[in-house]
Amino acid sequence: MIISQLGYYSLIFGLLTSIFIFFNSSIHLKKNNSVISDKLFGLIGFQFLFVFISFISLIYSFIISDFSNETVYNNSHTTKPLFYKITGTWGNHEGSLLLWLLVLTGVLLGFILKSRNEPNNYRLLTTLFQQIIVIGFFIFVLKTSNPFNEIFPVQTEGLGLNPILQDPALGIHPPILYLGYVGTSIIFSAALASMISNYVNKSWAKNIKFWILFSWIFLTGGILLGSIWAYYELGWGGFWFWDPVENVSLMPWLSLTALLHCIVTLEKRELLKKWTIVLCIITFALSMVGTFLVRSGILNSVHTFANDPSRGIYILTFLLFLVLLSFVIFIIFENKNFTQKSEIFILSKETAVLINNWFILYFLSVVLIGTIYPIFLDVILDEQISVGPPFYNKLILPFLIPFVLFMSIGPSMRWIKTNFKIGVKSFLAIVFTLILSFITVYYIGEKNIFVILLFVGFFYLLFKSLDQFREKTKNLAQIFSHTGFSLLLISILLNSFSSKEIVKNIRVGESFTLKNEKIIFKKISVEKEKNYESIIGFFDVLDEKNKIINLQPEIRIYNEPEMATSEASIKTTLFKDRFITINIIKDQNFFNVRYQHKPFMIWIWISTLIIMIGGIFAIFRKNKEVNI
């Protein structure tokens, strides 16, 4: 109770500090006095501390199940395991917004600490813009989503956390995702600041590159965890559904990826200044659009979030304000900054980056338009449509072929100008590609020319990326991410083309077959756990070599809130996952059994990790003069 109060007042102090910092930084901007600025930057530490205290006290309230707190009452329960009590803190709207604030102030603190050698004005201006965002969210939290609301009379038991959110991957998914998603705010603030302080140059690129990589790595990790959760928990064996909520996290990722390539060009060649700034603004704007779409409840999605329209209006207005602000600043300071003298040659890395951006922005526009078009159509013409996987597949897949081809050639381009030689090596790569594609296509029995082309493209990218390991001045960051990306595409393609599944209604003792495997339903048992009761089905799978594999899918019936979830049982091998789920059929002793072969599933996770490792290499690569 007292702790909850502490959290609330700490938030208010945080807001006051923000306002103080905001006004003082604008005053200091005029004086340009570095001594006073240092004190101001110290205050940023305090601001972070206030939010941190507030966040910790909310976690504490969750741990001790303080049901005088409305958020705890609505989302927790005494019988929940400790881990889920803690993760429940950010598994709801109010708590997750507090996490937003924590990351917002955290990245600002990190930025200030990491930018000691940057111009004072640039640091002050970045602080100023970040404070605008911080204040906006402070008010949002306190006004519409206060996590420390009290309820009276105090309840003895809470309502519990939605069981499908009680999962380890989803427990850590929000903090990781938010570090990336909200981390983009500092890129936005710094971009505006660099424009005003006339600092859009090589050193700025070096400074902000860290934060772009930081956001990108965490966002990749967040998306990965979300997909793993969907695969395990939603129980139908998919990992990506082109659901609006997923798209919303993919959009900033795409624009960050484009930005990542741009910022290097700016760093090396002082080119694409205007475009880089635009991308910085777009990236954060997309994060905000995503927040708006998810929190306002405007979307109709599998991923639920409590919502109410007044919150939607607030974020929407704030979003418009931020976009207009950056728009005005961009127009005013545009001509001051962007005189570029260097030229771009057709055969150069600059061109490769431009082509990369061209395709990525196209993919981004497909996702963005696919996500918001139904909303526009509904409002303007009152017609309802669904935009699902077929739309994205049709518009994205054909463009992946040229994209991966450019991606294969791009890294071997040099800055400024490249003299292209076609040697024996590149010929070998093509031969390898064709052989491997032929084997793969033959193996999965796919005769469609388009699928074959996709495989050829993806394998070519894989070989070209691996080929760079032999180079003297190798760029591990790029090799890893590109190799990871090609592996990811190959695994996804293989996975979607050779997945097999069978759905049967059977009783205990019965069996069925899929390909050369026999699946036997051995028995059923009921067990009582702390906060749920579980019905476990025991299955034996006899594979081609008559080896027995045990699978134990579950149906969990949670007590608070009362709800049944289906837990998949998955046996992973390097080549395929065996995936089984069961469901109860009403009033009958049959069970609905769904058994699936999901080939190369683990490679989807591994390759995403490899992509992230590439990003980590890029962070730790000390600015050696190497080609990226």
Binding site: S386, P389, I502, S566
Partner: protein, 134 residues
């Protein structure tokens, strides 16, 4: 009058253009069909949105409605209906909303054309930038 005609002509040509592009990359869907199989049912139900748990496909959903829908589609396939006929009769009953593939129509023309248009514009800008050597 002529303007109306022009408009519909433009509409038609864009429509044909998009269809040609899509057909080129979508040979697979034409190759299959005819014989009815378990896989065909799955392919159809994966493209249908469930009205009970809105956000899931019929294939994934375990709601009563989804179960009936699966049986209904099996029945229709056994009666010799093609995928197209099944889709169009369901759209007729439940609205365009029920299919995940928005298809090309007056309402969705922009949905398909806008990204492709942006791609062309982007290409033009980059082309000018490099060739003009600004």
């Amino acid at each position: 009058m002529t303007r109306m005609l022009m408009k519909s002509k433009i509409l038609l040509t864009t429509k044909i253009l998009i269809i040609v592009i899509l057909i080129f990359f979508n040979l697979k869907n034409i190759a299959m069909a005819s014989t009815f199989s378990e896989e065909q049912t799955i392919n159809i139900t994966k493209n249908l949105r469930c009205l009970i748990c809105q956000g899931q496909t019929i294939h994934e959903s375990n709601s009563d409605f989804a179960k009936s829908m699966k049986k209904y589609i099996k029945g229709e396939l056994e009666n010799g209906k093609t995928d197209e006929e099944i889709f169009s009769s369901l759209v007729e009953k439940y609205g365009q909303w029920i299919v995940y593939d928005p298809g090309i129509s007056r309402n969705t023309l922009l949905l398909w054309a806008l990204p492709l248009l942006l791609f062309l514009i982007g290409g033009a800008i980059i082309g000018i930038k490099i060739l003009k050597k600004i």
